[in-house]
Symmetry: C2
Subunit: 369 residues, 2 copies
Amino acid sequence: MSRTLLCLFAVAAMPVLAQPAAPIVSPEVSPDHRVTFRFKAPNAQAVMLSREGAQPLAMRKDDKGVWSVTTEALEPDLYGYSFVADGVSMLDPNNPGIKPNLIGPQSVVHVPGPLSLPWEVNDVPHGTIHHQFYKSGVVGDQRDYYVYTPPGYDAKAKKPYPTFYLLHGFSDDASGWTAVGRAHVILDNLIAQGKAKPMVVVMTLGYGAPEIVTGGWTGVRDPSIGKRNRDKYRDALFAEVMPAVEKDYRVSKDRTQRAIAGLSMGGAESLFTGLNALERFAYVGAFSAGGGDHDYSAEYPNLDAKANTQLKLLWIACGTEDRLIDPNRKFIEWLKSKDIHVTAVETPGAHTWMVWRRNLAVFAPMLFQ
Amino acid sequence: MSRTLLCLFAVAAMPVLAQPAAPIVSPEVSPDHRVTFRFKAPNAQAVMLSREGAQPLAMRKDDKGVWSVTTEALEPDLYGYSFVADGVSMLDPNNPGIKPNLIGPQSVVHVPGPLSLPWEVNDVPHGTIHHQFYKSGVVGDQRDYYVYTPPGYDAKAKKPYPTFYLLHGFSDDASGWTAVGRAHVILDNLIAQGKAKPMVVVMTLGYGAPEIVTGGWTGVRDPSIGKRNRDKYRDALFAEVMPAVEKDYRVSKDRTQRAIAGLSMGGAESLFTGLNALERFAYVGAFSAGGGDHDYSAEYPNLDAKANTQLKLLWIACGTEDRLIDPNRKFIEWLKSKDIHVTAVETPGAHTWMVWRRNLAVFAPMLFQ
């Protein structure tokens, strides 16, 4: 083996000007689950660690210009984070783990835990994630969705599989539930343990009106865009995604074999889409739902106690530290005032993926039983 | 629609401490294809733009602490880039487009061009990307690979599909050829134009010895790791990936219906794997290959002119501005000295994805014809 050739190879492949090696280790997870974050910015005046679900932590600079902070012991999980250097949110240049997002991508640190945690990869059979592409006539763009098929999925199975439509939140893309939420790992584990039925999970792109996200945080504050987003999302789902899934995969068209749930904006979309189409869905869920219309009678004009005969499960969860807990409680009160059966769940936690991964791990086992 | 609820929603979903809106636009592509990059770092002393395949450009700071630079008109393409602020390579905080990489992720800017460019998304039928997960007994880890099936792929097709094994380079992960190389878009376009045969493309994880990459740039400089990496890569391909693909997909096991090619480290792996197993592959390709053993007689002990009866195509390409052009020329000379037919291609360009996307668009149409 020629050392010269290898060096040439390394030099050819290295990005211009970047440091030749990576002497800075970040993040560093200690055996006791404390995490040290490091960020080289010799001339910055102030650097903070912004971690998902936590108060920001000030970092301190050493004499080499490396800012660092060590957290207390963290509960095993995956945490999004960024460094805020002189007011600008930066990814960790020494961490290849990235949480995709259309507005604010972050770095991710994995604090490993016991294999019994739903999102830890176990030595069990794995399902497959299929990335589908199509041109939407409803929205007028090229778009995508992801389909999880369970381990051992059989396209010729005698009994068709049930289907779970699982929606991401505002600023995520269609990869959110797999890339960040680890939905495929969670389903693999639950299915291997016999806790969840083998099911097909369809992870759509949640933007019926793409302008809700293309302008950053402005579109989501415009009520007319929000309304159009929900309407067009539903229209594309019914006219395009569901027919394609039901053609391409061995799935049931029976309403008792269909579920819809989502997080945050996707929770509002799931409630709006599902509760207005009980002829299509028997299971409806919302995790930290937000962004829906507050005028419930206008949003759900035909919803009343008759729904109880159709709904096998209406499951609405929110973290008690989430600012959306109050609107969620209000919506649950309204449902109860209409005598609609609802499973209302309050968990610890804020508006974070740590809450939503746990929501999925609790919700999926209740489906199609 | 309640404005209050929407605001709550927006606040709940916003990362802590990040700027509430994104007043900085970066990158900004002008109609004449010049690109302006902007990066806020009020206290940095020097910021450079490091763009794939280009010399670094100094950026200038304005009175608001925003550094910027505008390039000359760029050829339509996708370009990786980062900002080097006081010596540290940073992603663009205002660009959600990210090029995944295990050592140095970068931001990506798309300079759009005519739809005739191979990597532009056209209104044509699209194939599907399948993400597969498995535990490797050969390597001893949980790993993944991607499989592209062409538009209209039929699992029960009378005639099985040919299979193209397509390998990424050092520091990429298994998603490299789709996330950065847009292999699925290129294949969709070539197939729609009738230029390429409908084929299944398998994009493996190229690390037979994961320690080649887990330590940054050190592992790749150790010849024993490089050798083990190639050996174990081949072993896992033959014992695990190929049997799984040939069980799960409607593909041919005929050697004339199998191709293998890759870029950089993956080019060296393709040559090593393919040219030592002509009973399995009839098409072998290498794009900017690097990192293989310079002792060709040791690397290919059984290779001689008899290979010409088995090889339908041996295609070795490199950019003339790539530092690997000399070793590639030397290897081609050696092949010629052994009377082995080789198509040697020199193109403009350096060690970049701009070269490799074009390589793929030229190579794929020659397969299985």
